[in-house]
Amino acid sequence: MRCRWIILLLLLPLFLGGCLSNVDMRQRVILTAVGIDGADVPGHVTITAQLLNALKAPQGDADAVLVISSTGHTGFDAARNMVKEVGRKVFWGQIQAIVIGEEVLREVNAAQLLDFLDRDFEPSRLAYVLVARGQTGAVVMGCGGSMLDSIPVGTITNQVEGVRATGKSHVMRLHDFMRALDTPGRSCATGFLTVTGEKTTGLGEVCKNQKIILEGVATFREGWVVGFWDDKETRGLNWVLGEVTSGMLITKDPSEQNKVSLEILGASSRVEPMMVDDQPVIRITVNAEANIGDIVGPGLDILDDGLIASLERRQATVIRNEILAALKRAKDERTDVFGFGTAFARRFPRQWEKMADSWDEQFLPDLPVELIVEAKIRRVGLCLSPIRVQ
């Protein structure tokens, strides 16, 4: 009898969603990336998808993906309407990138646009969320990507991974994006794409002439896009978040004759919320290390006692300027992309309750920030002074 109950219990999970969808690979079509836009009918949503053409994808032909647009009342409705044209079951479990058009983001809140991706069990939460600046998501979906990648979305994902070498963008995954939307005292900031070149191919096919470039970040306030940050401001954000792992810092030596570029080896940051006289104060400590990458100019004496120290001070100044630019932009836009509010909520939960409602409007713009940057130069490269051509 007990045995029978155990068997019954073991069989119960059969009814859980997602465990029993037996779909053969041939009846599926893999969706690699999706663009989300508005539609002609107000309030409707258009979804543009890059669907994998499995037979052609490994060769990297222009028809490696099929680009399809469909419209519906909501994102989910539009997604389901795709079946009308495709016929196969669209598989969302491996979606790599979600690109939202700028226009629709000004009309519809991001949370509403992405709800269907967050609610359904299938879409991959690891997908990158990106904004198409001055473009629709559909246009980005129509871009063929780089020749190096066999499928267009490969270019986007490679750009997202590769941008870590410069620290000049910051892309959030769907899971983090939705969580940040849901967290008080924290705003979303994710990379944006720009498109260059003219489209030369027909609908449904990608165009290799059009190039996508990943730049800066688009910032959000309460799910609405409010600004597009440039390289400098974006890296300022990354310094504070501790997400600069590599990149270049350009400065000059004290004689102002040589250009010195520093290769960032890594950085760490600490954000400490404090209450001073019942007013919130934030202290940011950034530690950065770098190598000398190159010295361009008449040359300088690396062995000079004070040189490295002064280069380190200059390095710190560059970093400090980037952070200050980011802070100013955030304060102007009243968007807390750094998550300062969350830091307060965690450290001072009682005081936070009073601040929570008016954090972005009242407290953030006047938030005093104490900024400490410690920069170190670790290695000077393999030569002491530049080769003198004779």
Partner: protein, 487 residues
């Protein structure tokens, strides 16, 4: 009493065959008596008959007086004073004489006497001792059992020179009357295990025994289980090692196969040369074999579950490759896998029984059919070939054929469960399988020992073949149910 009549009766019993030889002769001086020798050709070493029987009887009996020849104890006198055969006995009944003849003995009838003498001149065909084909080792003894039981027992005695080696003989098979022996080392083998084995042997009722495999059905604790609970070996050193671990072994005449028990599931993953090789290599080999069984059991099902039910688990680039391969295939994945598995099993079975010259043709056609052609024809996707081939390699990794057979059989129900219920079905199947294994016993010893009941020290020897000075004892830990209270 009349010798003609007796001989006739015996011949009639066998249907007067040509290979039953009868030799009449007379012996004694003054009052010669008639004697008759009966024996089967080939069962008996007939070359030895003149020297050991005829010569003493026909020539040496001159010195017997008439009184002695006529005395009723003539039979025992002949047996004790004249016959040179090493093993003689008096048989009195007709049936006894018939059995003795079948056992390769020479029957000596004497006119006027109701009893006869059976002289053992059995001829054994002894195969050369060879290395068993099925249990190859890299280093270690090459000695394998042969078909002659007396030699096999001798081989064991040569390796275990202790008086406590016990050899208990049974005669099984109504028609075959096969000698079956139970071998164990008194003091090492647990008494309960020995008596259990004896009682099971005593209960066996069969027509004929040609191989211990025929007895295995009767000896097993769980005959319906796909898992073997008796180990099999043809190697003398393995048998000896098992005896020293406290196992009982069963040998039957006419077969080089030795059965031994108790065994545990994990012991099937140890090979004899594990203990002859250096320990790091042996440990690696053990891990390989354990992964071999996991692969051969679940790999096709796992592939099916992931590709059809959970493609999100596959790295994106790999998914693209799999999808591309699958695009042109007309069958559902499960059909594809079943098809390939079936072809592989057929090839394997065909290769097993194939006459050697034809086998070559099979080895050429087989890989072509399974591999290249099936993919090019668009019947099977290339990744499926890789999966099936890996599975096959996994089965070959398992050292013992018996476990391989179990995994070959179990692979299919697991695959079908997976096709129906996905990953969930696979896990459910594995749970059921493990539950079954845990409930098994081999001659009363838990099959999954040392995993269940857990014994960390013993488990270490399963996972790591540590140096010999490091482990204390390799004896089978006998955890019979009644132990649990008294320990």
């Amino acid at each position: 009493m009349d010798i003609e009549q007796n001989v006739h009766q015996i011949r009639a019993e066998f249907g007067d065959p040509k290979d039953l030889k009868v030799r009449f002769f007379t012996f004694g001086s003054a009052r010669p008596r008639t004697g008759a020798l009966l024996y089967f050709l080939d069962l008996t070493e007939d070359g030895a008959i003149p020297e050991t029987i005829l010569r003493p009887l026909m020539i040496e009996t001159w010195k017997l007086s008439d009184a002695q020849i006529l005395a009723p104890d003539l039979i025992s006198k002949l047996q004790n004073e004249f016959l040179l055969g090493a093993e003689t006995e008096t048989v009195s009944g007709f049936n006894q004489a018939v059995q003795a003849l079948l056992g390769g003995r020479v029957i000596l009838l004497v006119d006027g006497h109701a009893s006869a003498i059976a002289i053992n001149l059995r001829q054994e065909h002894r195969r050369e001792i060879q290395e068993p084909d099925v249990e190859m080792v890299i280093t270690g003894p090459r000695e394998g059992f042969v078909e002659t039981i007396s030699r096999n027992i001798g081989l064991i005695r040569r390796r275990i020179a202790t008086p406590s080696l016990r050899v208990q003989e049974f005669q099984l098979g109504e028609k075959s009357q096969t000698r079956v022996t139970l071998i164990y080392i008194a003091g090492l083998a647990d008494d309960r295990i020995v008596s259990e084995a004896i009682s099971r042997l005593n209960k066996i009722q069969v027509e004929a025994v040609f191989d211990p495999g025929q007895l295995e059905d009767f000896l097993e604790d769980a005959p319906w289980s796909p898992f073997p609970t008796w180990g099999t070996t043809e190697r003398v050193d393995v048998c000896a090692a098992q005896l020293l671990e406290g196992c009982v072994a069963i040998l039957t005449d006419g077969s080089p196969v030795c059965l031994f028990a108790p065994v545990t599931f994990l012991s099937f993953f140890q090979t004899p040369d594990d203990y002859y090789m250096r320990y790091p290599a042996a440990t690696l080999a053990r891990w390989l074999r354990l992964s071999g069984i996991s692969i051969s059991l679940v790999f096709p099902s796992l592939y099916l579950a992931i590709v059809n039910f959970h493609p999100e688990l596959i790295p994106f680039a790999l998914l693209v490759t799999i999808a591309a391969a699958k695009e042109r295939i007309p069958f559902p994945l499960v059909v594809e896998i079943l098809l390939m598995e079936a072809v592989f099993e057929m090839l394997r079975e065909a290769g097993l029984r194939m006459p050697r010259p034809i086998g070559q043709a099979l080895t050429i056609v087989g890989p072509l059919v399974i591999g290249q052609a099936a993919v090019q024809a668009g019947l099977v996707a290339a990744p499926v070939i890789v999966v099936v081939a890996t599975t096959a390699i996994g089965t070959f990794l398992i050292a013992r054929e018996k476990v391989t057979q179990a995994t070959r059989i179990l692979r299919f129900p697991l695959l079908i469960l997976t096709a129906l219920f996905g990953m969930f079905g696979l896990i459910l199947g594995m749970i059921a399988l493990l539950t079954h294994q845990v409930s098994l016993r081999s001659l009363g010893v838990p099959y999954m020992y040392p995993l269940a009941p857990l014994d960390l020290k013993a488990l270490r020897d399963v996972l790591i073949r540590s140096p010999k000075w490091d482990f204390q004892s390799r004896r089978v830990a006998v955890h019979l149910p009644e132990d649990e209270g008294s320990d």
